[in-house]
Amino acid sequence: MTLNTFIFYFFSALAVISALLMITRRNVVHSAIFLITALLATAGIFLQLRAEFLFAVQIILYVGGIMVLFLFVIMLVNLDVAVRQAAFNRQAWLAILMAGAMMGTVALAVWLGRASVHLPPVKAGALEPNTELVGEALFQNFMLPFEIASVLLLVAMIGAVVMSKKRI
């Protein structure tokens, strides 16, 4: 029971609990807060997996960028009435049932086929200088996807701006 495994179980428990709380809260801002805690917990797990660069990117991009965007929109779309309305739609129970069934079949399939998967033994400490390695990979063998991603972001920016302008 080293510190390392303790961290993993702590963060995964935190992530699951806050994810559950996120989808059950009536107040939208509270669920946004719990999503932020879930994302921070996953960032902790990335750290535990020795992926520091991803830890930083997750916090800067996901939590510092996207969630701020979410909070801005929640505050602009300041609907107090939403809090009093029913949070779950009519087919809530049916949806949970269906989701449970789907997840059950996937879990069953993985459980049955676990013998056939031959995962090579874990190579310890293979990704030590994490940031340098990620940087090299990103700019050497993943050059094309990197450019496509930047074009994607550009398109998304323009789309978001055009859509939320009052008078185009």
Partner: protein
């Protein structure tokens, strides 16, 4: 059981101690930075500043802290209690956790069987970690404004977070220029690279330092950009509804952010713990500078002691004088006896000296510049600061390529030639952007708003 605990915590004991030191010293340091700011403000405005609490107002921060603790803590009616309680906490934790990445002094020291640097943690993603954690501070502000359930606090909160988000990009780009030179993210490695180079990066990329300073002022909501709480109808922006200790937390968060931002600037641009002219032997007399400064403080305090009116002021002032003497002695010891401790003490002194100098520039701007209007502030951020900082990164890349030795495809230029190219190119683009902006405002003025 005990040795299990010790074995379990052994590798992390020194960082824990440093965390304790940082978390305890920070509020005190922030308090005295507030006093320094009020004294400098008074000096610039031809008046005296706080003189009543303690000699020359030296006990003012303690008085402020006690007052804020005892003040009534009002929660606005049907405000969101959970958010109202957690928002200041997010702000303060974000500001304090950001200290983990900073390195205060050189070298590694062996304690409890583990090598530790003089920093909370020797992260190899130092600067990235600090930027990431301090960008969490935005949530404290946004949620604070939302939770206080008043239209104007929400408006103030949205404005200050929009400002922080947009100036973070410019600050990030300016930092990238610094990191391009250093080639590593870890704060310790950056300063060691500057020591090896013998030249601080502020001389390599002065424009990046300038952009970073302006962006960091805007990011901490201060000086000419402290618009959200200064707007006529926004009164105190997101902080309006907070009172007592909660407000003190926001206040502490703002000053910790200032110290963090100053720490980053010192590490990346002003050569962290390096003494000016670290390499050259002739400038070794500078080693005595810390002791001389503190002896000066102590002398001045002693000289003022007889002039104090109340007896208690005399006692407090002499205690301060004694404190300065002790520090002066501590700093003088290594210069003469040269134990292993010298780098740590002197390193921390020079680091704090540069941080205080940087904060002095913050205060100086605050009292001499009027305030930007919000749209001018955003226009400056997006249409001038960010493009110029991106162009500077490109120009610096070009300069670094030119500085490479000929066999690696460069022209083997010296560092200052590279600096001239990068600064000159960026200034050209900046001037062109400025002229573009000027012409645009002209057109708007003519066509009538």
């Amino acid at each position: 059981m005990i040795d299990l605990l010790i074995r379990f915590f052994a590798p992390h004991l020194v960082p824990l101690i440093i965390v304790l030191v940082v978390v305890l010293v920070l509020p005190l340091l922030a308090g005295y930075v507030v006093l320094l700011e009020r004294k400098v403000m008074a000096d610039i405005q031809a008046r005296l500043g706080p003189m009543r609490v303690g000699p020359h107002g030296l006990l003012q921060p303690i008085a402020d802290a006690v007052k804020l603790l005892l003040k009534e803590d009002i929660i606005p009616e049907n405000a969101d209690r959970f958010l109202f309680w957690i928002a200041p906490l997010i702000s303060v934790t974000a500001a304090m956790v950001a200290f983990a990445g900073l390195t205060f002094a050189p070298g590694k020291y062996e304690f409890f069987g583990h090598l530790n640097t003089v920093a909370v943690a020797d992260l190899n993603i130092g600067i990235l970690f600090i930027v990431a954690v301090s960008s969490m501070g935005i949530f404290g502000i946004v949620l604070g404004g939302w939770a206080s359930n008043s239209h104007y606090s929400l408006l103030g909160a949205l404005r200050s977070s929009a400002q922080m988000v947009s100036y973070e990009t410019a600050a990030g780009m300016a930092l990238i220029s610094g990191l391009l030179l250093a080639g590593s993210l870890s704060t310790r490695a950056i300063v060691e690279k500057q020591a090896a180079e013998g030249v601080w990066y502020v001389f390599f990329a002065p424009l990046a330092f300038f952009i970073y300073m302006v962006a960091s002022i805007a990011e901490t909501n201060r000086a000419p950009f402290d618009l959200p709480e200064a707007e006529s109808e926004l009164v105190a922006g997101y902080m309006t509804e907070f009172s007592g200790f909660r407000w003190a937390l926001y206040f502490l968060a703002e000053y910790c952010n200032m110290i963090v931002v100053a720490g980053i600037a010192t590490t990346v641009f002003l050569g962290g713990w390096l003494r000016p002219f670290e390499g050259t032997r002739e400038a070794d007399f500078l080693d005595l500078a810390p002791t001389v400064i503190f002896l000066g403080f102590a002398g001045y305090c002693l000289w003022r002691v007889p002039r104090q009116f109340e007896k208690i002021h005399k006692i407090v002032l002499s205690i301060f004088a004694g404190l300065c003497f002790v520090i002066a002695a501590a700093l003088a010891l290594p210069v003469t006896v040269q134990p292993a401790w010298k780098p740590v003490l002197h390193g921390v002194f020079w680091f704090l000296a540069k941080v205080v100098a940087y904060l002095y520039a913050f205060m100086w701007f605050r009292f001499t510049f009027p305030r930007y209007r919000f749209d001018q502030l955003m226009r400056l951020g997006w249409q001038w600061m960010i493009p110029v900082s991106i162009v500077h990164v490109m120009m610096l890349g070009l300069a670094l390529v030119l500085q490479r030795p000929p066999q690696q495809g460069g022209l083997g230029w010296a560092w200052w030639q590279g600096m001239l190219v990068s600064t000159g190119g960026t200034l050209l683009v900046a001037a062109w952007l400025g002229a573009l902006g000027e012409r645009r405002t002209q057109r708007i003025a003519e066509s009538g708003v």
